[in-house]
Subunit: 498 residues, 4 copies
């Protein structure tokens, strides 16, 4: 069976004898499909050394030349979309249309990296004093690292290294060990686009590899996306080692449904937002907060009906709406949350625990689940389920709904369904959440804005991708310049340098 190695200095499938291996599953069948190497300290250090060696020349490459590689990278990603979607489907389980959607969002981050010559412009001040000028440059950091999660195996790496690299840094990526293949292929395509050897390196691994990246003094910065406990560990550890760090964690995204909402529209878009990609998205809507019982009753009734047509199955059938969960353990955990809701007094309106996918009896499937009458005290409300489960909490006022959202530990995304300008403005202004949708259930910012939650959904000052990524992957240098006369201009040195 195939074992996936690392990519160091553009040598694919490198394996160190110290590296352990871990299985990679096909979640639709429940079977192991391949193995992946778990990098030892030595392997990670070798990757860092490769990045370090590549840095000086890359740093001095004009940004426009760096961007030229990103233009070609974009073309190659588009040309290889089918292959990439297949790899994502096989190891993650998501359906082809969803995998391609993920890839498209990643490609848009590559497009943003193409803008580097504009984005890297510094600020120039003439005459800060008499004949004294001052300007600020945004210089690269050196070798930086990214650690990415299983749920967007192709996209999240593309949030990070295109911008890091186009800013002049060199990079070490550690993708999720659950589904490393698409990240490996994407990295190979960047080399095919013309990247010099060593500028990007991929190591597969687990905590051993991560801990090297967090402590190695040559790593200047770490970007992470994953769960909140790990994000907090990453941030605290990397910070204590003097590194710049941004660590994105978990979420519990609420949608407020106001009585004046266009209910058919709300139900329609919430279905995708709650169950798409089996709910394994940090921007998935997992809580619907209905204002007034009438809105609640309508929403639950229409949603229940809409969910009849949801189709769960393997990634190989593009007519499916969503696929399995990532592991058997995670499937059991999600089912446990549904069970706890029932035990704690909620009403299971649609129960996905016993979903059957013919031909894939051992796949890690949970069907779309709708739970009504949930309270903020219940486990299924307090914790991030990361499965195809939408809970409904009924409140009596918009203020009550907003207070609930603000009280939750997470602050990633949220949205409101309303037709009212004033309600929307009040909500978006005051809610303590980083990404807000107004009638947009998944308010993932476009690639030319930045992605980031508030509260315990993000540790760090700067958000991911977009303008904030430029600042994250560069440091400011400010130069103040005055030229004393050397007599050249006045002609005193006329004879020089004959």
């Amino acid at each position: 069976m195939n074992t996936i190695g690392h990519l160091i200095n553009n040598r694919p499938s490198r394996l160190d004898t110290n590296d352990r291996v871990a299985p990679v599953y096909n979640p639709a069948t429940g079977a192991i499909s391949k193995y992946v190497a778990m990098a030892s300290r030595e392997t990670v250090e070798e990757a860092i050394s490769a990045a370090e060696a590549a840095y000086p020349a890359w740093r001095n490459t004009p940004p426009q030349k760096r961007a030229a590689i990103m233009f070609r990278f974009k073309e190659l990603l588009e040309q290889n979309a089918d292959r990439l979607a297949e790899l994502v489907g096989e190891e993650h389980g998501k359906i082809g249309h969803d995998a391609k959607g993920e890839l498209q969002r990643g490609i848009e981050c590559v497009e943003y990296a193409c803008y580097a010559p504009e984005l890297l412009k510094g600020e120039h001040s003439k005459n800060v004093g008499p004949a004294i000028d001052c300007w600020s440059e945004f210089q690269p950091l050196g070798v930086v690292a990214g650690i990415t999660p299983f749920n967007f195996p192709a996209m999240v790496p593309l949030w990070m290294y295109p911008m890091a690299i186009v800013c002049g840094n060199t990079f070490v990526l550690k993708p999720s060990e659950r589904n490393p293949s698409s990240a490996m292929l994407v990295a190979e395509l960047l080399y095919e686009a013309g990247l010099p050897e060593g500028v990007l390196n991929v190591v597969n691994g687990d905590k051993e590899a991560v801990d090297v990246l967090l402590s190695e003094p040559r790593i200047q910065a770490v970007s992470f996306v994953g769960s909140t406990p790990i994000a907090e560990y990453i941030y605290t550890t990397a910070s204590a080692h003097g590194k710049r760090c941004q660590a994105l964690g978990g979420a519990k995204n609420h949608a407020i449904v106001m009585p004046d909402a266009d209910m058919d529209n709300a139900v329609n878009v919430l279905t995708g937002a709650a169950f798409g990609s089996s709910g394994e998205r940090c921007m998935a809507i997992s809580v619907a907060v209905t204002v007034g019982d009438s809105a609640a009753d309508q929403l639950v009734a229409k949603m229940k009906e809409r969910m009849q047509s949801l189709k769960v199955g393997a990634y190989t059938d593009d007519s499916n709406d969503f696929g399995p969960l990532i592991t058997r353990e995670h499937m059991e955990k999600v089912k446990g949350y549904i069970g706890s809701a029932a035990e704690q007094g909620a009403t299971i309106v649609v129960d996905g625990r016993d979903v059957q996918v013919p031909g894939h009896e051992d796949g890690f499937f949970v069907g779309g689940t709708l739970i009504d009458q949930v309270t903020t005290a219940m486990t299924c409300y307090k914790e991030e389920i990361f499965g195809p489960v939408l809970v409904v909490v009924r409140v009596n006022s918009m203020e009550e709904a907003m207070q609930m959202i603000d009280d939750h530990e997470y602050g990633n995304g949220t949205c409101i369904f309303t037709r009212d300008g004033e309600a929307a403005r009040y909500f978006s202004d005051n809610i303590k959440v980083g990404m807000v949708g107004i009638n947009v259930p998944l308010p993932v910012p476009v690639a030319y804005h930045s992605f980031g939650g508030w509260k315990r959904s993000l540790f760090g000052d700067l958000h991911a991708y977009g303008p904030d990524a430029v600042r994250f992957y560069t440091k400011r240098k400010t130069i103040t310049q005055r030229w004393p006369s050397s007599g050249v201009r006045e002609g005193a040195d006329f004879s020089f340098p004959a």
Copy 2:
């Protein structure tokens, strides 16, 4: 013999019965190679109508989608570089390496157009008053026009319409009637990249077509590059018809050679700057101002030697340095300037008037020419020659050199050769010229800055391409918003809209 038509609504080679024709020459042979249609008023109006019809849908197309077409356009331009260089060579005469260099600068403007989602961001102010917000959008103008010169037949159109179009405008281009083929092919490639019908239209023609574009009320803006008298006419006429206009005109670009300059380097780069593309560049260096006789003597001696190896000939031989002039009339005019210099007392150090190009005896060739002891009173100093002629003016101080530059009617580009920080800073700060080089003889700004001269080299507020082009092709709209309470948020309207 082939007759080139127009491109309206993506229908190539359209010809109207009213259109006249004009000959297109191969300047290397002196022979007519094809004909080109001269658009009548009706043809131009038809092009405008096509652009007008395409406008509403194009305006509402998200900028990112418009940029996606530019990404593909860039790929196609790169793939067709050889074909385009061949067309440029055949009709303009410039050598392949030079034609490809021109194309590359044009492609970089397409890359800048790809940044549209970033460039079109408006300014958003929260709480300009209590619960009042204000923001500015940069909206497209509508149908805009470009009129481009013979000397960069592939590049200058790409200064204009990629940015105009990506900003949401639709476009009518009138390229030079001397060498229209490359502009036609470039436009076809943009359609191949996915441009909707009618967004770009090309009409070939002369003053008849131009005057329609300047006066037709549906044209919102005009961009022009050419000579100063025409630029002034274009600007005044378009302005009087209420149109936004930027009109770039002629140049007389001086290089100051300071006594401390690295003379070998100066001679080397000045050779390309003065004679490249036969001097038919609005950024060509046509005057070397030497400070001190020692610098002058060195420069003239080294330049004379360097010019021995200059190779003039047809575009078909890539080892040539430069090719013929654009027309027989222009060749005679350039020779006349050289003759006038001799008559008015200057010293012809190297005389290119009798250059022989075997096998191309009827081509419009003038060889590289160096004229020393030129004064500001001579015709060859005062006027733009637009040929491979470098004149040397000797002065005794940098101040004298700068005064001379400031006194000239043109203010396009200039440069200084020095090793001295103070001299360079003083020069770049004070000189009344829009584009300044410090040891860079052709200070053409990169595509992510903007191109524009001062004084009578540019009429209009905003420069060409780069950030200024975004402002030129958009108009600011400022929105101030306050939402009165409708009771939705407070719950008063709970029953609505059941």
Copy 3:
């Protein structure tokens, strides 16, 4: 009787023997209160010469030092608010609270000028090629001019010269000859704040002075605010003389009242927007477009009632809502418009023609006037009345209302009253007007945005004040720099220059 002179080189009350004089009225009494000199060509040229002489030193003064004067200027304007309001009231007629409001908006433009060090930052690109840097500076133009209208005698000059001057230009102002005193005092305060002699100069005058400013070659740019026919003349003439120009003209600002609008709020704010400052504002709402007869009937009824309490009178009584018109001629013209409406079939709901102001029987007063059932064919709809007259046009759909606005020759400001997010967004996106209010009747952009209409309300590329003013009052210079090695760094020249 006092005669107001000019302010050249900070010498107040200068008078040339060639200068004619014109009367200045107190519109509340109808009496001449003083005279003002009408500058001859010689006087204007003297002012230009003063500005020209002051330019070189001012241009080289660091922006932060220039801004320091603006900080002090702001303080002095605040300290002199009462004196200034008195002068505005006496010569313009507007009530104290209104005059102070005007002044406050002007002061906010001075505050914006204080930001100059930030606003003048150029764009700096490192490594546009190997070891080649490029940056753009925004340099001042030289001597620039402003020509300002009677209706905001204190504010509009402050739209112009604080920004022009803080950018490094020197200035010649020609204020309205109707009410020059406040502009004179404001200019004196700027000198009191520390402005060097000659940087600002004020000439009073009429067309003779204006024509000098439009044609004198030393004037680099002209800013104008006034009526459209004059704006067009200014723009065309200045452009033909090679000057940068922005000319703001007339307006006919429509407010759409949607059926879902908060009608009490709409009536309340429309009252101020229509009748404040007697309607002599280019942002006054002069047309209410009601969608549906129910909205129309409500609006007219409530507005009629609201207008009962409008108080018209002299500026000396701060409880008045608004004052007289500027001249007897203008008063008659406004009354003529009201009469024409009646003749052409409209319904005069409230008629202000016979308003009585006890003790001010000869003042130029017209009372608040409401006209219903107006059509687009009527004179009172087509032309700018510039008086306290609100006309109501009834339509049946929002599309009809928007088409009417787009068809009007002016495109200065507009607003919509609605509670609906979708209607507001559609309106603000599509309407062909430069400044848009959503439930904001006077959408004058705050000082840190820019002011400008579309269509025949503004001639030029760049709007007034705010970010656009920075671009209007500066020109871009782009510098490309490469340093050849002189051996200093490598140590070859160690002995130099001992």
Copy 4:
């Protein structure tokens, strides 16, 4: 004897019974001049509560209104410059001209805070999808804290809270316990300028107070300036508590003196840079690196001569160049560094250890000291002395000099003295230091750029004051908006809400 308390909710001189006290010295006399309260946990929590209570209203105050207070604050600071300089002199020891210089730099940061309406503009994107808009706002964080050092008691607090407050945050400041009085007065002036109660609070104290600020969950961010070990503790502790943090630490700023430098100019400006404020500046030049022995010999000779005229003494005499060190302990430490240099083989060229200041025999004075022949192995090179001591390290090449700088643990400021464009550009590009001077010995960025070192001179992503401070004191919120049709625009809801 007077005891300085705290400033909570604008109640001056508040004292809690739990608070301890510490002495405040007059360093020029060596005597205790007053005492200062050391805040207990309860006192700090009370300050935080005051800030928390003030936050909601302040957050919703329009930025322009917040900036209006900063405009008045600037005026008051200027009016109170003498009083403030007196307080700084008395407690810190620096001479009046130096104290006023410090204050002026602080005032410039207040000026920058006045620009808030411009600086807080968000990014607005129209049509990120069909009729979908997206924009980013920069919202305040909440309650934030600043901890400031003794060496710039008036300026460093002004680096922090004006920007924090104008961005909408409320603030708790803990100034240095060595010299708290000027910070107290400055804070009182901000209240006099109109700050609402509780927006700024000052607590005096030591580690007990600091630790509350680092761990209290209501504190959202911490800014710190001090020594590197404390900065690292602050950063690690605050980060581990989930706070945003920027912590500025120590420095060892090198000046490279090239053989082509204007030596008289270099000596002149280095004198101020090395000995000004007794070297107690994190931007002081403490190492001169001479390239070539000729440059070294010249520099040492000229510097020795120049230092003869240095005048050390009490702050009360404005003709003094610099004053005492901050404490007796610090004075002894500085003398110890000088002694170690001698012991380790360096040459003490000028020895300030035995300086006599008549009438101030118990003051903490050390005179200007110059040490030649220093090596990188010596203690006086490796550690930050923070006294009036300049060491000279002799090297043979610029590369050697740069390697030395890059190898040092600190990377705050550096400069080069040269006349050569190429050397300057190479140095500023490659040196691993955050603030670079070219012939500018103290390259402290102006207030509209940002201040920050690299390596162990700054912990955190964003620099102090200027544009980076705006980002540090705000968090990004991104809103994506789509309006479903409610029928209002199309007229379906015509009857609503009659």
